[in-house]
Symmetry: C2
Subunit: 351 residues, 2 copies
């Protein structure tokens, strides 16, 4: 490299200017063609496109980002260690939906883990540098400072699973309340009298909603709610085991369990088996998530399916809208910025 100025010369990648010269037009016109502006005549457009093809022109992303003040990238932020990311099918399904919806866009998806403190600091730096046009936030706990940081930096964001009923961010969620209801109603319809519930972490809004659904399903069916039949878990297998043990000790006569996740249902199953309870004859079991665990459990687990891939797609829709809407200064309130998708009960042998 002889001198700084000679860097891009001779043999380097072609620039907009070179395409313009080749097509016999000005820079502005080439830019318009590249960006699909309608204000270009067909003849000119064809000429430019030919020049682009001949030269093998590819726009320089950095230059575009600098001039237009956008990055054409969005981040999927996973506030969990990578281990959990790979362990839970939730993320892989989400990623699939997101990727699909993004594939006919120029947008680039970045996957960012923010499990450790160190990673979180890195992320903060990253966001401060405005290296993405928007952020997708999945699986956020109630007290996570990330959403506030995003708001402060004025970075468009969409959250999956609102943090509370008063969520201010645009969000996409599945119908946790309805999903839980359908699970309990199913158990009642099968003739179960004493339905227990192992909850998820109650600082997760969705877990609370499932408890609500459980309660209301019982009440609406004319049962009363026995608090001894509700035991908090933490979404882990071990938590499921502990909760199940507790429940059996308190109400040995229970004949059904609705677990707030498949993983916890797996833990519960182990305890039930150890205690000699047959599934579903003695105790019916229903999980939540319809994950691979559910299909492979013995017996196969009835579970509530969430349309996670679909949720991923919707999140992208919302986010892209959000990004586009940053031009007109005034945002139009929160209308249609929070959506809830239906769940589906998948019945298997465990109930």
């Amino acid at each position: 490299m002889a001198s700084h100025g000679a860097r891009g010369r001779s043999g380097g990648r072609p620039t907009l200017e070179e395409v313009a010269a080749r097509a016999g037009v000005g820079r502005g016109t080439v830019s318009r063609v590249i960006n699909g502006s309608p204000r270009v005549s067909d003849a000119t457009r064809a000429a430019v496109e030919a020049a682009v093809a001949e030269l093998g022109y590819v726009p320089n992303t950095a230059a575009r980002a600098l001039a237009a003040n956008r990055t054409d990238a969005i981040a999927l932020v996973v506030p969990e260690p990578e281990t959990r990311f790979f362990a839970e099918p939730y993320f892989s399904d989400m990623l699939k939906g997101v990727g699909a919806e993004l594939s006919d866009t120029e947008m680039q998806l970045l996957l960012i883990f923010a499990g450790s403190d160190r990673e979180r600091r890195r992320l903060a730096q990253y966001l401060a540098a405005h290296r993405v046009d928007g952020v997708l936030l999945v699986s956020v706990h109630a007290d996570d400072p990330l959403p506030d940081l995003l708001a402060q930096l004025e970075i468009p964001a969409v959250i999956s699973g609102p943090r509370s009923a008063a969520e201010t961010l645009p969000s996409v969620d599945s119908d946790n309340y309805g999903g839980a209801r359908s699970a309990v109603e199913h158990l009642l319809a099968r003739g179960c009298r004493h339905v227990a519930h192992i909850t998820g972490r109650l600082d997760v809004y969705g877990a609370q909603r499932r408890v609500d659904g459980y309660r209301h399903a019982l009440l609406d069916a004319g049962h009363e709610v026995d608090e001894r039949l509700i035991e908090p878990g933490d979404f882990t297998e071990d938590g499921g085991r502990r909760a199940m043990t507790e429940l059996l000790a308190r109400r040995p006569d229970l004949d059904a369990v609705f677990a707030g996740s498949d993983v916890m249902a797996g833990g519960a199953r182990q305890v039930l088996r150890e205690e000699g309870r047959r599934i579903p004859d003695d105790v019916a079991l229903v999980g939540y998530d319809d994950s691979a665990i559910a299909r492979h459990m013995d017996p196969p687990l009835t579970s509530v399916r969430q349309p996670i891939e679909e949720m991923g797609r919707r999140m992208i829709d919302l986010l892209l809208t959000e990004i586009a809407d940053r031009r007109p200064a005034v945002s139009r309130g929160l209308e249609r910025r929070q959506m809830v998708l239906a769940t589906e009960l998948v019945e298997r042998a465990s109930s």
Copy 2:
């Protein structure tokens, strides 16, 4: 936004220039401090750092990329559908190592799937735009055109698992030959007489090397190699099952099986069980990868462990070196650019 020129003004992110003004120095000096150049006096450096802190200055990546002609990003390209990525622990371990090694760098890691044709076209476009400084290639088949594309675009790349003995790209691999040897030697030491081998896909170089290791271990121990004891698989469970069936039909007297992957060992185990062969009493079984499958199999599977995380780290080392070396025009040949890491046999109850 009143006018183009006013975009960044008043309230926007601070620029290098503003930091310079604040610190009472020139732009060049601030740039030097930001980039850790040693040619700055301590006093000046302190002043600049103070200004940076007060203003909350964060460099603009796009501007830097444009001016310096680098992106500070590298891509991990997975030429597989996302499904396989999540299913195989190989990738998650690799990602962990790569992430760890990158975490004290300014480099950003991009995860790019190139499973479908569509995704591959997208990737090609992406690379043509030089949006990354380097590429990590994992799990590449012998006839994949990607490495050539990379070479043509002059993008530094490192490959995990060389495509052949004549691999030209810098590469990191585990000792497939040695790993296979240790597995077979272990089986022979346990007194097995007729050791079969279910191979991986033979268009994968590593699988070939494992066959070589198997052969040489037998020969060196004074056994002869019976080709009827070698059956090609394809790394899938089903392939393992087919191969095992085939082997049992041909050599019912076999007393040990070395499978080229844990997944195939899993398939083989099913067949052995169906045929009433006890593991390890009738037939000893050894797998490859030491994945979760191995630990959870019944009986737990003896397996060859590859230091995948370590491989990920080494790949980053090589790649960063490769990127740095693009300044001096002349590359110093291939010395030390291909490395092979040792494997370890993890003994469990299956052998």
